[in-house]
């Protein structure tokens, strides 16, 4: 049975812990808002980029550009996006559970985030490079990493490049997701174009001209012009698309990290507060018990004197 003084000390220490986790929760919450905005605001851009690539569609046969063509290699490259710091709940361990399933003898890794690097080193996986970025990375910084991957791919060192990252769904849920970025799969983009919002026709046009527009819209895929040339567009658009995808997934990873940390710290704070309540109850019980005992002592002593 701990003494009341010991219990008091415990309450104090739990209170300190709660204060720290509360502070970390606040910090994570403010970073989370920033990271979520960054991740979400680029999604419209990404959607349009997708649809532009889908427009290229039939031009982009596998032999039209090396980035569309699967090289002769039996290895695959996985980019593992994790966090630099811990204390973010099950985010990293969920991710690593997926990462562990790749065949170690044919998989190379490129990692961003210290936790991922440590994990791969512990397992003795083949880690080719490790990139670290600041909390809000710029497009240019991320470009270095995607360039490295494109070069490996063009040198036929790997047959495919995929990214494994915690996809940001909302504050409460992040899902480990594997997305292939190379070779670029134009076919997988096609469905995106169909539901792409066709803005309502200009209100000033008359119904007949609208009809004309509708008719001409149906023949667009055949009549697209490319300036300066289809090849030049492919040469610029495809690498750019890869860079941007990598960038966007990194932003998503950051948003996931801060969301997961915020939730984890909130849980920790709640638990600590619950613990304080429990121990305080225990403390009060003990205090009352000792008062009762003292009273008993006093009354017995008085009785004895009478």
């Amino acid at each position: 049975m701990p003494s009341t003084r010991e219990i008091r000390r415990r309450i104090k220490s739990v209170k300190n812990t709660a204060q720290i986790t509360k502070a970390m929760q606040m910090v994570a919450a403010s970073k989370m808002r920033k990271a979520q905005n960054a991740a979400l605001s680029s999604s419209h851009y990404a959607k349009l980029l997708h649809s532009m690539l889908a427009t290229l569609g039939d031009r982009a046969q596998p032999d039209a550009h090396p980035l569309l063509h699967t090289p002769n290699s039996d290895r695959q490259l996985i980019l593992l996006f994790s966090t630099d710091k811990g204390l973010c709940g099950p985010l990293n361990s969920n991710l690593f559970r997926e990462a562990i399933q790749f065949n170690p003898s044919t998989t190379d890794f490129v990692a961003s985030g210290r936790k991922g690097v440590q994990f791969l080193a512990r397992l003795g996986r083949n880690l080719l490079a490790d990139f670290s970025f600041p909390d809000s990375p710029s497009f240019l910084q991320v470009k270095g990493m995607s360039k490295f991957c494109i070069e490996l791919f063009l040198d036929e060192k790997v047959a495919s490049v995929s990214i494994l990252y915690p996809k940001f769904i909302n504050t409460l849920s992040q899902k480990p997701t594997l997305t292939q970025i190379l070779p670029i799969q134009i076919e997988s983009l096609q469905p995106i174009q169909i539901p792409s919002p066709q803005p309502p026709g200009p209100s000033s046009t008359s119904p007949s001209s609208n009809q004309n527009l509708q008719e001409s819209l149906s023949i667009i895929p055949e009549t697209f012009l490319f300036e300066p040339s289809p090849q030049a567009i492919l040469d610029n658009l495809l690498p750019y698309y890869v860079h941007f995808q990598v960038y966007q997934m990194l932003l998503s990873t950051r948003a996931s990290e801060h969301s997961a940390r915020m939730v984890a710290m909130k849980n920790a704070t709640d638990n600590a507060n619950q613990l304080i309540k429990d121990i305080t109850l225990e403390y009060n019980k003990q205090r009352q018990a000792s008062i009762t005992n003292e009273l008993l002592d006093i009354t017995t002593a008085q009785r004895a004197l009478e």
């Binding site: 349009l48 649809s51 200009p202 000033s204 527009l213 697209f224 030049a232």
Partner: protein, 137 residues
């Protein structure tokens, strides 16, 4: 009179969206003017001045590098920068230009870095051009 729907998007936000009469767009092959019912075109945008005209009013935007997808009813411009006159800080742009020119003349830049500095310079010049235009008018 038919109009054409213009959308200018950067990774950060949708910079401009409206139904307009015509658009003047800087591309790798020179400036092109886009009117409604333009032939479908996919082209590359270079840093420069993008002019939107609507109801006889001209709007000038400084545009960065990117791509444009043009159909008969829609123009989508994806660029890494799109600023309206009010958003441009002339002093900051002047400083950026001076810095870029300095590092171009002084340092030995190669590959990626050189391209980055040159892109910054071109974008800054485009911003300056757009900003100055209003002052002349």
């Amino acid at each position: 009179m038919p109009t054409i729907h213009l959308e200018i998007v950067t990774p950060e936000h949708v910079a401009y969206e409206d139904d307009v009469d015509s658009i003047l767009l800087p591309t790798t092959d020179g400036e092109i003017a886009i009117l409604p019912l333009h032939t479908p075109l996919l082209t590359q945008v270079i840093p420069g001045e993008l002019v939107v005209s609507k109801n006889g009013q001209n709007l000038y935007l400084a545009i960065g590098e990117g791509f444009a997808e043009i159909t008969q009813t829609n123009v989508r411009v994806l660029a890494d920068m799109a600023l309206q006159q009010a958003e441009i800080d002339e002093d900051a742009v002047q400083i950026a230009i001076r810095k870029a020119e300095e590092s171009l003349s002084r340092e030995q830049l190669a590959g990626e870095q050189l391209a980055a500095v040159q892109a910054t310079l071109q974008k800054s010049l485009a911003q300056l051009k757009v900003k100055r235009r209003r002052n002349n008018n």
